[in-house]
Symmetry: C2
Subunit: 591 residues, 2 copies
């Protein structure tokens, strides 16, 4: 059996290694257009930032290793330029010699990845504008950053000599994974960084109010985040810099410009082979990773996969799924009945020592697909026991099915323990857990690692309280117009308060019930919702129509939590951020 | 309805708060023998170590808060001394005034906890010998440590004055949670610490070979770990120190002695009430936390619970389960059908910046209950992508059902990411996951947080390879006597090698098959098992009878991993540690 694998990074390399383990006799040819196979593309931004110092660290495996350990015929700098599904052949071009050869296959695996979006804008090919897709990309950026900027100072004008000054300004276009990671790494290298993007928020998989917290956090670390403004072109500016021109007429000058607008599945070969392409532009495959042609498989960033939770098709360009898909294609080629279960889209991004992570559909996605059978809570548990030093709050939005309690998704941001909680919740979603299961979870607890009630338990308890009817819930967008009861202590109100809310500290509530209306909904809040929940229980049992405002003051103003400048208001329609920032925050930052 | 709750720490306090939320009208009386309710006993060792500086940090909630927020009648320094189940009354003694009063109840909840074992050894009540159970205990230790030791120097002998020198030597008796945490905290305070214990290993829930790694790690951080020697008494030594005498005739002198021999369920009241007691000495309860008397409930460290995995009764004195049990008792008292699902025993201990954690039954426990339907693997994945700085290996022993692949348990040790992986695996065990589910798990991945193949995925892949028959497995205890094939590179053998093993580097294996015997089992190893697995695949497909030695060199010598002094040899009967330490390790430590 002859198997040709097109693409030698995550999906292709995994497929080749797995196939060899299952079949010593298969003839395996793996071709890669670039100079390296199996490199760590997730590490590229950190190599630019000098966190990963050596380029060689990024090269996880090389051609020789594939040949020696796996007896795979690996060809780098080799592009598959044509496929003939009738003849079952692939044409390969050696990018060094230009030679084209034709190779027969029994099975073909396409793992071509996704190409960086590179719109035909004026000036987009100016020197100093880069993508971050490959090891050579990172090397070029590195060299460009280190070269310094030609700069004619006053003295130079007389002498006629050019001096070099360090490059200091960067413009990153795009607020996805690569854009944000590049922004952080360039800040760490001392650059003034502007992050520009067309959509009205960073990180599209997040809900907007959560993205607002991320943006505020990035701004507090020096990134000038601008969104809702489209780049229309690039111009050469003084001293070798580039001027980035936008729709709104503004320009941003960078000594380096990073394009991280997004990626698009590579489907040239797939289309040539007449394979079915999905609505999102990715190669359509079945659960065996088989395309519409039974002898052609496709894996990785180029394919559309089923979302594990919603069942909708989606494009999830992540390394973990690509690896698993490669293994599954190899299994199936070797005659096994392996199936891909779909992708959860579990993701995390480091953010100046903090992390933002998520798994499962956002509220916006649920709204888009018309799914209304859900409820959401905002919680702010500590990363570990509050009495042990350096506990940090984790802001979490948890979404679950109203009808059966099934956990659907979580978004989380914090400076400690975010990866753990989102990983645990991803595992729970995988296993079809309900919020009632989360209540009972038994995670590692010692005071430096968690709490006797871990954030995971806490999420389950609050959600279950909602579903059991013990905690009728409200959110700020509606609560704002209702009767508001603030059950915090007067001391706390002195720091921050909500205009118009009645204050009765929880400890006095039982004695002061007659101050409350019996003909209106009472929306109760405190700092985080805990005391509000207790108060709600008291009120409901005394015949009042009470609801707990989810997340309390912390949902109203995340700046309180993370010490960032801008507030975020869950559930409220958010104005363009430039306008919004001029507004005084409703509450003062704590401390 | 009048409810009396005996014990106001984890289980009792949770029960009181929950019950009030469910029933505004219940009359709730909570009594606590000690001076504080709801304190953080898990933090006590860290308070002694000055990691948690203020004693007040340990007081999570106080009497006033329980009264104000929950309208609970809280009495501290108040002991329940008698219960009459026929009359449904409890006698309470005020420990300050001595007054005894009788109180009727409709429902009684026992949450008395577990008492520190305090054997009647000679000298056990000498000053300077302490338990670590309560806030006053920690306060006394603190004061004792700070007071200094009376010490007559030569000069003092002339002058007649005593000077004080700092206390410097500590003996900790017991190698469980508290013993190990106290040992670490005393080392951090500059003490020379000896940890003595009667069993032949620390941390009984771990398998011995895993405990050996923990002990080696503790020794490398300065703790003199001694086991297999029983304390027989204490004597006053010079300068106010205490001499700890052992069975073997050795004595250990400490300026302070910590007794952390274990805890025993408090069952005095339960026995007085005629409640059923289990074989392990804990109060027997049903899944509603109801004792053999329908009006009496019991929760927390005093009760026996069903092990979630084995179904066996067990004593699990942990805060998380106690809290959940308290909530469930409250639910049931309030008329709800809540059930306790059993305890997984998920645990973690910090260890000089590292952590050791586990969930589910050890191999020893499975052997003890006669369960042979399991397989085990040893793996050593990195905590995050190897190409990103500061990745640390995690030593993991994973046990799973041979018949159906169900995940049973894990033990793990490492300097990064242990809490996350054991928490995820605990969640997977809770949900009844198989190792095939672990293969497909989609956890948070960015290079600083994990790997595209996370340790959780890796555990699943290796275990599934074993169960699918792709990786016939062996362990060092049997492999030692078989034909051994080492597929590492000659460079690696120069650092460490196994006498008698044939070396054929993986890359040469396909060409050198004729050097291998066709009539013997071939046990293949490398550093971690990865190349050995590849080699096994090659051999098996070429008709050889080959097996992979699980964990490879890393299982043979954990010192290689953690830079500790002593080796650990999984599966091998281990000699008493004193004798063993004199033996030269079979392999040299790396670097």
């Amino acid at each position: 059996m002859k198997v040709i694998i097109v693409g030698g990074v995550a999906g292709g390399a995994s497929c080749a290694a797995r196939l060899r383990r299952l079949d010593e006799n298969a003839e395996i040819l793996m071709v890669e257009r670039g100079p390296y196979v199996s490199y760590a593309n997730c590490g590229l931004p950190y190599h630019v930032g000098d966190v990963i110092e050596k380029e060689s660290s990024l090269l996880v495996a090389n051609e020789e290793l594939f040949r020696a350990h796996f007896a795979v015929d690996v060809r780098t700098n080799c592009e598959a330029i044509a496929v003939s599904p009738d003849k079952k052949t692939v044409d390969l071009r050696d990018l060094v010699t230009g030679e084209v050869t034709t190779h027969p296959y029994d099975k073909l695996v396409l793992s071509p990845g996704a190409a960086a979006v590179h719109p035909p804008l004026p000036g987009i090919d100016l020197p100093g504008i880069f993508h971050v897709k490959t090891v050579p990309d990172a090397r070029e950026i590195h060299e460009w950053l280190e070269k310094g900027t030609a700069f004619l100072s006053g003295m130079d004008r007389y002498s006629g000599f050019q001096t070099l000054r360090p490059k200091t300004r960067a413009v990153v276009v795009g607020g996805g994974f690569i854009g944000i990671e590049m922004a952080e790494n360039l800040v760490q290298r001392g650059f003034e960084v502007t992050l520009l993007q067309k959509p009205d928020q960073v990180l599209k998989p997040l809900d907007r109010e959560f993205a607002r917290v991320v943006e505020a956090f990035m701004r507090s670390h020096g990134v000038n985040v601008m969104h809702g403004d489209r780049v229309v072109g690039f111009k050469q500016a003084e001293h070798g810099a580039i001027s980035v021109e936008t729709d709104s007429g503004k320009t941003y000058v960078g000594d380096v410009v990073i394009l991280a607008i997004g990626v698009r599945p590579e489907t040239t070969l797939a289309k040539m082979a007449g394979l079915a392409i999905g609505k999102l532009g990715g190669i359509r495959v079945d659960e065996h990773m088989r395309t519409s042609n039974p002898d052609i498989f496709a894996v990785g960033d180029a394919v559309e996969v089923k979302d594990y939770v919603t069942g909708e098709w989606s494009l999830i360009p992540l390394a973990g799924p690509a690896n698993r898909q490669g293994r599954i294609a190899a299994d199936v080629i070797a005659g096994r009945d392996s199936r891909y279960r779909g992708t959860q889209g579990t993701s995390i991004i480091g953010l100046f020592g903090a992390a933002v992570a998520w798994v499962g559909p956002s509220e916006r996605t649920l709204n888009e697909i018309g799914d209304t059978d859900y409820e959401k809570i905002y919680i702010y548990p500590n990363s570990h026991a509050g009495y042990y030093p350096q506990a940090r709050p984790i802001a979490m939005k948890v979404i679950f099915r109203r009808s059966d309690g099934r956990l659907l998704s979580v978004q989380a941001l914090g400076q400690d323990g975010v990866d753990k909680r989102v990983s645990v919740l991803a595992a729970m979603i995988q296993m079809g857990a309900t919020v009632y299961d989360l209540e009972e979870s038994e995670l590692c607890y010692a005071p430096q690692f968690g709490s006797a009630k871990d954030p995971v338990n806490f999420a389950g308890m609050v959600a279950a309280d909602v579903l059991r009817g013990d905690m009728p819930l409200s959110h700020w967008n509606t609560a704002r117009n209702e009767f508001l009861l603030d059950v915090r202590e007067p001391m706390e109100l002195a720091v921050e308060s909500v205009p118009g809310a009645l204050n009765i500290p929880l400890g006095q509530l039982r004695e002061r019930l007659d101050e409350l209306p019996r003909d209106r909904e009472i929306h109760v809040f405190c700092r985080s919702s805990q005391r509000a929940y207790y108060a709600t229980r008291i009120l409901v049992q005394n015949g009042f129509d009470a609801k707990t405002v989810s997340g309390g003051m912390l949902s109203l103003a995340h700046n309180y939590l993370f010490g960032t400048g801008g507030g975020a208001e869950p559930g409220k329609a958010v104005e363009p951020v430039e306008a919004k920032e001029e507004k005084k925050p409703m509450v003062a930052p704590a401390r």
